[in-house]
């Protein structure tokens, strides 16, 4: 089961990479590789440093019992819709992760563009020991539309 999932995930990632490269290539004047996962992670890192790092820390470990860690948690690795929703709407609730509770409110980050949210989440999902598929701007757009 695990192997099949891993294979599916891999196909998903490579499919996405190819898809994004294609769309980037289609756009006139786009920087080479701008749509690749690697480029998305690089852009996402800068956004993380400017917006997320103060609370979630440089190593993604968060602050004990205040700000949730971003290391291999189901929030980060699981359902992307849920993850995108947290970024857009913020969070003001007690969150349980591996038996510990985190209570500090997170302000909404809806001022970020779809591409920026996709980049920062792709960075988070592929840093701090995490490995998960990229988040695409289209996915952010869809969630944002539903929330409105």
């Amino acid at each position: 089961m695990r192997r099949i999932m891993a294979a599916l995930l891999l196909m998903g990632v490579s499919g996405m990479v190819m898809g994004q490269q294609k769309s980037a290539a289609n756009k006139p004047g786009a920087t080479p590789g701008a749509g690749s996962v690697t480029a998305s992670i690089a852009r996402g890192k800068v956004i993380y440093q400017n917006i997320c790092l103060a609370c979630h820390q440089a190593d993604g470990s968060g602050v004990p019992r205040m700000n949730p860690p971003l290391i291999k948690t189901s929030f980060v690795l699981g359902d992307k819709t849920k993850l995108i929703t947290i970024v857009l709407k913020g969070l003001n609730d007690d969150v349980e992760i591996e038996g510990e509770y985190y209570s500090n409110p997170m302000p909404p980050q809806s001022q970020l563009r779809d591409q920026e949210i996709a980049d920062v989440l792709t960075f988070v999902r592929n840093s701090f020991g995490n490995k998960a598929s990229a988040v695409k701007p289209g996915e952010v757009k869809a969630v944002r539309a539903k929330l409105k």
Binding site: I51, Q57, V63, D93, P105
Partner: protein, 424 residues
């Protein structure tokens, strides 16, 4: 008291100081001083460990401990009653009770007071300061605000039947949108009506809420450490200063300034004190009250002429979680009536290295801080630089003084209780 009586008292204190005492057992520091670095002549031992997220603690006249625990989400025991039956300093009896998470705990007279994040309770004690019925908690204060931020209701009591409860502001700097770049401060800040200050209640009246109490001091963002100074008959508190000057105002503050500012402040309160949050903060380099950027400040403009000055100021974000005026006789004379402060350790200094994670001594003279603060106990967090708070192995949180003059420090990472003694 003449010299002879003094000597007798001192001798008696020495002989009876180390718990009930069993022949052949003596109190001695652990070989590694419990991993702590201390001034010469001091030693430390691990009195207890594995208590969970141990917040504040209190010691009975018999030398037994009550430790308040949080983080169980009201599922586990949140008060531990600890005893050392043979006087070797190591806890060998432990019982748990009470189901509400929270920070504050204190034995006063024949009652044990403890707080949840909304209420303050008390338990009746017997003549050995043991809880008579752990299922019988009397609710003294109820219905205090809890909005997931600064929710711990730390408290202390005076000697005239009053209870002082911190109600932390559910906000960083009272912006219209909390912690959001570009959002201005609310004018006036509506949070101050029900939070952001110290409320005074009666220590012996059941079911009090806002209307029964009095806002004793305002303009305090969040206070976890507070102590009643019996020598001055005055309440002292340690404020947790605001976060994120750089994140919210990158044009005015760089990351280094944002790591150091604002100061974590000690205030000597009186009824009606206003310490200025959210309108101003204290800059320990300029020695000035600076207008908060959410209220038109630029890092230089001063503000709040009517606002009380801090009694002392410390580097930013170190999170003072306890203050204790030392009245014991075990430690050398210089410590008497001075203040120990437990700095839980910062998180809002990233990407700069974190700071704190130690216990500080602040000398006092004639009732005022006198001279520079000094690190008294460090090494809680473990070796090396702390980049993020999750790396800290232990974090000092609560302080208490034993009947023999020992200083107890609780750790809310792994629930270790340290006992610091002087042995020269």
């Amino acid at each position: 008291m003449n010299k002879f009586t003094l000597a007798t008292v001192a001798l008696a204190t020495f002989l009876t100081s180390f718990g009930p005492g069993v022949p052949g057992t003596t109190l001695k520091p652990d070989a590694d001083n419990a991993g702590l670095k201390l001034p010469s002549g001091f030693g430390a031992l691990v009195a207890a460990e594995g208590l969970g997220h141990a917040r504040h603690l209190t010691v009975t006249p018999e030398g037994d401990l009550y430790v308040k625990v949080e983080g169980t989400r009201n599922k586990g025991n949140t008060i531990w009653y600890l005893q050392d039956s043979n006087g070797d300093g190591k806890i060998d009896k432990k019982t748990g009770f009470f189901k509400y998470d929270g920070t504050g705990i204190e034995v006063k007279g024949n009652y044990l007071y403890a707080s949840s994040n909304t209420d303050v309770y008390r338990f009746k004690l017997n003549d050995k300061h043991q809880v008579i019925d752990t299922n019988k908690a009397e609710k003294i204060v109820t219905g205090l605000i809890n909005r997931h931020q600064h929710e711990a209701k730390a408290f202390t009591l005076d000697n005239d039947g009053n209870l002082y409860v911190n109600i932390g502001a559910y906000s960083n700097s009272c912006q219209i949108k909390d912690r959001t770049k570009g959002s201005l401060g609310m004018q006036p800040c509506p949070i101050l009506d029900s939070a952001g200050g110290i409320w005074q209640f009666k220590a012996d009246k059941a079911n009090q809420t806002y209307g029964d109490g009095e806002r004793y001091a305002t303009g305090l963002r969040n206070v976890v450490g507070l102590d009643w100074n019996t020598q001055l008959n005055q309440l002292f508190v340690m404020q947790h200063g605001r976060d994120q000057l750089h994140d919210l105002f990158p044009d005015m503050y760089d990351e280094k300034q944002s790591a150091e500012l604002p100061a974590e402040c000690m205030y000597a309160l009186h009824k009606g004190s206003d310490c200025g949050w959210p309108y101003i903060y204290y800059d320990q380099f300029q020695h000035k009250k600076i207008l908060a950027p959410e209220y038109g400040g630029d890092g230089k403009k001063t503000g709040g002429d009517h606002i009380q000055d801090p009694a002392a100021a410390y580097p930013g974000h170190m999170a003072p979680n306890a203050i204790l005026f030392y009245t014991g006789t075990m430690f050398p004379e210089k410590y008497r009536n001075g203040a120990f402060i437990a700095f839980h350790g910062s998180w809002n200094r990233a990407p700069e290295p974190q700071k704190g994670y130690f216990v500080v001594f602040q000398p006092f003279r004639d009732g005022k801080p006198a001279g520079d603060w000094e690190i008294f106990a460090e090494g809680f967090a473990g070796p090396g630089e702390i980049k993020s708070p999750g790396q800290a192995q232990h974090r000092p949180c609560g302080l208490a003084q034993g009947p023999d003059g020992s200083l107890y420090v609780s750790d809310d990472v792994k629930g270790t209780v340290y006992r610091i003694i002087y042995n020269k």
